[in-house]
């Protein structure tokens, strides 16, 4: 009788098994395919031919197996289905199965209604994600697993998408957090992603099977799953065959398939050549001559060197402690390079810099005097404290200074580094606008690096391969997760490694131009472009950029060192002749210890890292406010966000009611309407109970009921608020559905956004603890008084509320509402006046009412006050501005306020706007462009900050400091 064969072609591996008809496994293998799908399958088949020979009933499964199946004519079975078959055969008593693969994550619910779920198109938490993170930590996945087992604490890390997680992890590395803890935190993030992203409202319980490579090989990950799901030992099953489970399922599924001779199977696979379905573009270089001319042209912008072994005299030191790399440069007063260093920081930037500084001292043997030093980049504060550097400089300004050196007429700078893309437009020799990649549209340098490793190559060699690729693959230009699947598709269709390499270089460039800069045409970029950042040292990327823009650009030979070079130039510019930089002796004695604690200064509970240097001085990082750093916090006096945080709950008098307890979830629209409903219910004799304060813990509390993982963070937090109210045992939760918000007579229509309007529907549908008695969600339009009163009476029928009572209560609600807003406006005027007396700049931190929530804005208001700014909100100022007519359809109440807040900022010289945007907010795709255009029409800076679950302010700080630097430059120019 023919044997059964299953071939599982995943995104990174090929698994082949041979099974007897009775289910006995005879052979199994697990191989990485490095994009050579067909070849790997063939070599496995040849082994099987030798060992067994004869006839097989064969099926292919797996995410990358579909194309192979279609072209070879071998039967295909969807991989979850394959798993299902195997589960039923070997583990008939299982209740659920979780499978993590290279790029897929799946859950199969078996009992209580069979259901099979796969990750959507935007989802991290897979094997590829873990690989990416290991690359970031510069360790192997195996090492990461060993580290994780020795962890002591877990840091919160955004888990939805690799890019997000990176921006959480990078600062941890830079702050010197332990690798053990970071590794364990990454695994926890994967678990959270699976539980919230996939289970979507359904609890994972009973006997759970864990399948797929990562869950088989990684003990730390297993542990995290078992802990999070509270599984007992017998209920957490890790099958011996886990990595090959799908292929076994595919084999079992083949039972009804027509048997084929192994030779026929092999020749069918051999004949499955790639098709033309993949889009391809033009080669980057026609031939070697073209490439040679290109290289020659760019060599012209190299700096000259001076010999550190013979040079005698002054020097300036610049350090760029970047996110993934550490850069260091020592220059002479006439800008020759004495010494430079570029290195992946391996998570230990301090060690590297101390080492290199020692090297400089030993090479120069006392002939060189460091007259000044400056530090820039993510690690600025840490390094500055460690080596006692003279200056710190915002990295954007450092890059600008460096670019100016190469082209005084520069009008556009683009820097693509390991983790971020930065672009600046230059007007009148000052930075005019800054664009940083939002966390989602990354796809920067480290992305190629991860890919190169996945293909088993070093990055240099990998990108060199693309230079002469005949048909570069079109990979699209969005986030890395999408690119991963585009690459997967290309591999499936049989594209070569060369074509994929070139395609990746091109997509990085497209990402930068069309996603970050959002240029409609290349002309918008200006005429004098300087490109920099380590990624541009890659000739394929540089070429792709020149091709896409149609312009020849300047790439300095020190493209990777520009931040450090700019810092050195700054040190030179600012030097007072004597430097505080740690000398040779100091370095000899240098050592440091790092430990981390949870700050109890306020409710934010920041993870604070304390680094103690040998001389007893301390450096503290990870804190959101000064309190964590042991300093006196900046006063709340000029911060309307702090004011609103206190003022809003004060709308509740706290009277103990006689009618019962009503729960109000303080999130989304309730941040605006709390005064109305507090007043309404209290005057009816209810006790008003507010949900717990937003926090990450609260989010996790409701995470299992989140139905759509791409909704905004405020919406997802709402689930936790609901849970907390139910736990408080309120009689009912009140949350109205409102298509229309209050008409403020300044827009064409006055809608709420769909999320704010209808979120109660989603909550009701996905939280099994809610029912029509304990969750009251009437549809009302507050502009229609009588109808609203009627609706409220009807929905509170149980409590026998008369129309008159409801009418009066609503009046009380509105009185409190008016009072609240009047107070906020008065406070706004007060802050403005005081700021002017103290000569402070004012920032309108503009967003939605719910952006006042500290868990959502991550304390950006405090960051602003610590930078010496006064903070207003959009609802405090919009009323003072003119009405505005905008290009877009102005039809949402909250969004109309934004336009008017922008108009307010434009009419006041000392007021600037910073727009807060929640990730996933579709409406802000419209408002941001419009607010920007209002600002630009008035020659004002526009700054936007995208916020999500990420709770790291490093990037935000750079952005705000760059903005301040630009404002200062602007002021200087006006004076001049």
């Amino acid at each position: 009788m023919a044997k059964l064969m299953g071939i599982d072609v995943g995104s990174t591996t090929v698994k082949v098994t041979v099974v007897e008809q009775d289910g006995t496994v005879l052979y199994k293998s697990y191989e990485r395919h490095f994009a050579q799908v067909r070849e790997t399958v063939l070599s496995e088949l040849k082994k099987i031919k030798e060992q067994f020979g004869g006839e097989f009933c064969a099926s292919i499964t797996g995410s990358a197996g579909l194309g192979l199946s279609q072209r070879s004519g071998i039967n295909f079975v969807q991989e979850v289905q394959a798993a299902f078959v195997a589960i039923r055969r070997f583990y008939p008593d299982a209740d659920a199965a979780i499978e993590l693969g290279g790029e897929d994550a799946k859950i199969i619910f078996i009992t209580g209604g069979t259901e099979q779920r796969m990750n959507g198109s935007c989802a991290g938490g897979t094997g590829a994600f873990i690989d990416q993170m290991a690359t970031l930590l510069n360790i192997s996945v195996q090492e990461m697993d060993e580290y994780a087992l020795r962890a002591e604490k877990i840091y919160p890390i955004a888990s939805r998408c690799g890019v997000f997680a990176k921006s959480d992890i990078q600062p941890l590395i830079n702050q010197g957090a332990r690798k053990e803890d970071i590794s364990a935190s990454i695994f926890q993030a994967v678990v959270d992603q699976t539980v919230s992203g996939l289970a979507q409202g359904r609890r994972i319980k009973g006997k759970v099977l864990f399948l797929g490579g990562p869950l088989y090989f990684l003990k730390g990950l297993r542990g995290a799953f078992v802990r999070t799901l509270h599984l007992s030992e017998e209920n957490a099953v890790f099958p011996e065959d886990a990595p090959c489970f799908m292929s076994i399922g595919a084999a079992l599924h083949s039972a009804g398939v027509k048997p084929m001779n192994i030779d026929d199977i092999i020749s069918a696979i051999e004949g499955a050549e790639g098709s033309d379905e993949v889009m391809t573009g033009e080669p980057l270089f026609k031939d070697k001559e073209e490439y040679a001319a290109f290289v020659k042209r760019h060599r012209a912008t190299d700096l000259t060197f001076a010999d550190i072994a013979t040079y005698e005299g002054d020097a300036y030191l610049g350090i760029d402690s970047g996110s993934t790399t550490t850069k260091l440069i020592l220059i002479t007063p006439d800008c020759r390079i004495l010494y430079s260093h570029y290195q992946s920081n391996n998570g230990q930037p301090v060690d590297i810099i101390v080492d290199k500084l020692k090297e400089i001292y030993s090479l120069s043997q006392g002939r060189i005097t460091i007259k000044g030093s400056a530090v820039t980049g993510y690690g600025e504060d840490l390094i500055k404290a460690a080596i006692k550097a003279d200056f710190g400089i915002v990295e954007t300004v450092a890059h600008f200074k460096a670019a100016l050196h190469f082209n005084p007429d520069v009008d556009f700078i683009i820097d693509i580094g390991g983790q971020d893309i930065k672009c600046f437009k230059i007007k009148n020799r000052a930075i005019d606008s800054i664009m940083l990649n939002e966390a989602c549209s990354s796809g920067c340098g480290s992305f190629i690096q991860t890919f190169a490793r996945a293909m088993g190559m070093e990055i240099d060699k990998f990108s060199q391969l693309g230079l002469f690729a005949p048909r570069p693959v079109e990979l699209g230009s969005r986030c890395t997760v999408f690119m991963n699947s585009a690459v997967k598709q290309a591999q499936k269709e049989g594209s070569s490694v060369e074509d994929i390499s070139a395609g990746l270089s091109i997509s990085i460039v497209k990402n930068a131009i069309y996603k970050v800069i959002r240029a409609a045409s290349a002309d918008e970029l200006g005429d004098n472009i300087v490109v920099q950042g380590g990624t541009f040292l890659n000739d394929a990327v540089l070429r792709a950029f020149e091709r896409e823009t149609g312009k020849n650009v300047i790439r300095p030979g020190i493209a990777g060192l520009m931040g450090a070079f700019g810092a050195a130039l700054y040190a030179k510019e600012m030097s007072g002749g004597v430097s505080t930089t740690m000398g040779e002796e100091g370095l000899e004695k240098f050592s440091y210890k790092s430990n981390s604690i949870v700050c109890r200064g306020c409710t934010s509970k920041c993870n604070v890292n304390i680094i103690t240097f040998a001389d007893g001085s301390r450096f503290i990082s990870g804190n959101k406010c000064e309190r964590g750093a042991g300093r006196k916090p900046a006063s709340d006096e000029l911060d309307i966000y702090s004011y609103k945080q206190q003022r809003l709950p004060a709308c509740i008098t706290g009277a103990k009611g006689t009618r019962g307890r009503v729960g109000l979830p303080l999130q989304l629209g309730m941040y605006e309407q709390l005064p109305i409903w507090a007043g309404f219910f209290e005057s009816l004799g209810f006790e008003v109970v507010l949900s717990d304060k937003s926090s990450r813990e609260l989010y996790f509390l409701g995470q299992h009921t989140v139905a759509s993982d791409t909704a905004c963070y405020p919406a997802k937090l709402m689930h936790g608020h609901i849970e907390s109210l139910i736990d408080k045992g309120v009689d009912f939760i009140f949350m109205p559905c409102e298509s229309y918000n209050l008409d403020e007579h300044d827009s064409v229509n006055h809608y709420n956004c769909p999320i704010v309007a209808y979120y109660p529907e989603l909550l009701k549908a996905n939280n099994e603890r809610l029912n029509k008695d304990n969750f009251i969600m009437p549809y009302i339009d507050l502009n229609m008084w009588d109808n609203t009163v009627k609706k409220l009476c009807a929905s509170l029928k149980k409590y026998g509320i008369s129309k008159k009572q409801a009418d009066d209560a609503l009046k009380e609600g509105f009185a409190r509402f008016e009072k609240y807003h009047a107070d906020v406006r008065a406070k706004g005027r007060d802050i403005t006046q005081k700021a002017r007396e103290q000569g402070k700049q004012i920032i309108v931190l503009a967003g939605r009412p719910y952006h006042v929530d500290n868990e959502i804005n991550h304390g950006i208001n405090k960051l602003l006050t610590s930078l010496g700014l006064a903070v207003l909100s959009e609802d405090a100022v919009f009323d003072e501005a003119d009405l505005v007519k905008v290009n877009v359809l102005n039809q949402w109440t909250y969004h109309a306020r934004l336009y008017r807040a922008a108009e307010y900022a434009c009419r006041n010289e000392d007021v600037n706007i910073v727009q807060l945007v929640s990730f996933g907010c579709g409406l802000d795709a419209i408002t941001t462009d419009e607010v920007r255009s209002i600002m630009e029409k008035n020659d004002k800076l526009y700054t936007q900050i995208k916020i999500d679950e990420i709770n790291n302010l490093g990037v935000v700080k750079i952005r705000l400091r760059s903005m301040l630097a630009a404002i200062e430059e602007g002021k200087k120019l006006k004076k001049a």
């Binding site: 969807q78 796969m118 198109s121 999408f482 585009a486 409609a520 298509s739 769909p754 007519k885 419209i926």
Partner: protein, 427 residues
């Protein structure tokens, strides 16, 4: 309530200048319409031509379309807008048109979803390279008064007929195509039906809808079928990606190639949904006025026609009739409130429920990536639906410029695997 009187304020104008549509342009301008429903739009194209407009439904469908879209609209804007803008720009660049005598047209609902902003977004996108091209809004909410496509009562009625006929053709075709005995028969029937409809608009008699619908059904009923049964898969979701092959990577084709029968609810449902939303505003919130009365009359008229059409389907007997809209409303009520009216709102769960009740339990819920209303009415409603219809088998698929076909198809295949298993059990 509390009509807060704004202190008399000035208005600052931040709008950019843009070209308006002028009545005289009718003579010399070609109006480009994005593709969404090939057969419906072909009928509408013909009837607008008969009205004296030069119109053309765009058929460009290459990767260049998506790339142009990516270049010209904000990254986070929804996919339908991106596809549409891409089609316009790609067409304008093709050299096929005199770009100084071209306008583009787009529909605008005026609802609380981003889609109402397509017109300004298109304008913004065109501004970079084709600032002279006017953008026409097809809307019934009084928006864009200086750029609206003029529609009188008579033309409106003609559009209604066009939609009913397009619906009938699409509906029958999908029930015949998977089972045709001779390859190409279903397409031939469709060509004949199209020809019939077109000639009625040209030669008169287009308003005799009962007769025309009967003929359409007869033409499809005459196709010889194989007699096999296939797995039925419903397509619901955001209107553009639900219907447009460009938007949904040729979903219907894919389902056919997988040996399924695609069940695509008709366009008139969406029209009725929009009308009913206006009525609901009045019943839910007590809004009064002529606007609501007109909508009630319009709904009564359209629904009566729909019921007549259903009667014809039933009498003829060959095909599953289209859904009765009142039934859809009842279906919606089982899942969520009809107050959820932004985007496709309550229509999505209503269709999913109605499909389940009429034997189509397998469903692809197509939505643009990050579609706001769909969080609630699509993904958010699936749990309730599953509780109501135990065997309902729904996959939510996101469409996006960079989401790959392989990812989408893999997810659909997963749904189909379950579908086939359920089907096997029933058989």
């Amino acid at each position: 309530m509390d009509k807060k009187q704004n202190i008399k304020r000035n208005t600052k104008d931040y709008t950019n200048e843009y070209p308006r549509w002028q009545p005289w342009m009718k003579e010399s301008y070609t109006i480009l319409i994005p593709d969404m429903l090939p057969w419906h739009f072909a009928i509408i194209e013909r009837l607008l031509k008969l009205e004296g407009y030069k119109v053309e439904v765009l058929k460009n469908d290459s990767r260049a379309v998506i790339d142009e879209g990516l270049k010209h609209v904000h990254n986070d804007t929804c996919y339908p807008c991106l596809c549409t803008v891409g089609q316009y720009i790609d067409a304008l660049k093709s050299g096929k048109y005199d770009v100084n005598h071209v306008a583009v047209m787009m529909s605008q609902s005026g609802g609380g979803c981003r889609a109402s902003n397509y017109i300004p977004l298109i304008r913004k996108a065109l501004k970079a390279e084709f600032p002279q091209v006017p953008v026409l809004s097809l809307n019934f909410s009084g928006l864009e008064r200086d750029s609206s496509f003029p529609i009188g009562a008579k033309l409106l009625l003609k559009l209604v007929f066009a939609i009913f006929y397009g619906d009938a053709i699409m509906w029958c075709y999908n029930q015949v195509k998977p089972y045709e005995g001779v390859q190409g028969d279903a397409d031939r029937a469709r060509d004949e039906a199209m020809e019939l409809v077109m000639s009625r608009f040209e030669k008169g008699g287009y308003a005799r809808y009962k007769k025309i619908i009967r003929s359409i059904i007869d033409k499809f009923a005459s196709v010889a079928l194989t007699g096999e049964r296939k797995v039925k898969v419903g397509i619901v979701g955001e209107i553009y990606v639900k219907y447009s092959a460009l938007g949904n990577n040729h979903l219907e084709q894919f389902l056919l190639s997988e040996g399924c029968e695609p069940v695509v609810p008709v366009l008139m449902d969406y029209v009725l949904y929009c009308v009913v939303n206006n009525i609901n505003d009045s019943t839910l919130y007590g809004k009064k006025g002529i606007f609501y009365t007109v909508n009630k009359l319009l709904y009564a008229l359209l629904h009566r026609m729909q019921k007549n059409i259903i009667k014809i389907f039933k009498k003829q007997g060959s095909f599953e009739p289209i859904h009765d809209f009142e039934h859809l409303r009842k279906c919606a009520d089982k899942v969520l409130n009809q107050g959820v009216k932004m985007g496709e709102g309550w229509l999505i769960p209503a269709e999913m429920a109605a499909l389940a009740e009429t034997g189509t339990e397998n469903i692809v819920c197509a939505q643009p990536f990050g579609c706001l209303p769909n969080h609630i009415a699509g993904k958010g409603a699936i749990r309730t639906l599953k509780n109501l219809y135990q065997n309902e088998n729904i996959v939510a698929v996101d469409y996006d410029p960079s989401a790959t076909k392989v990812n989408q198809e893999n997810r659909i295949k997963l749904m189909l695997a379950t579908a086939r298993e359920n089907y096997g059990q029933i058989k």
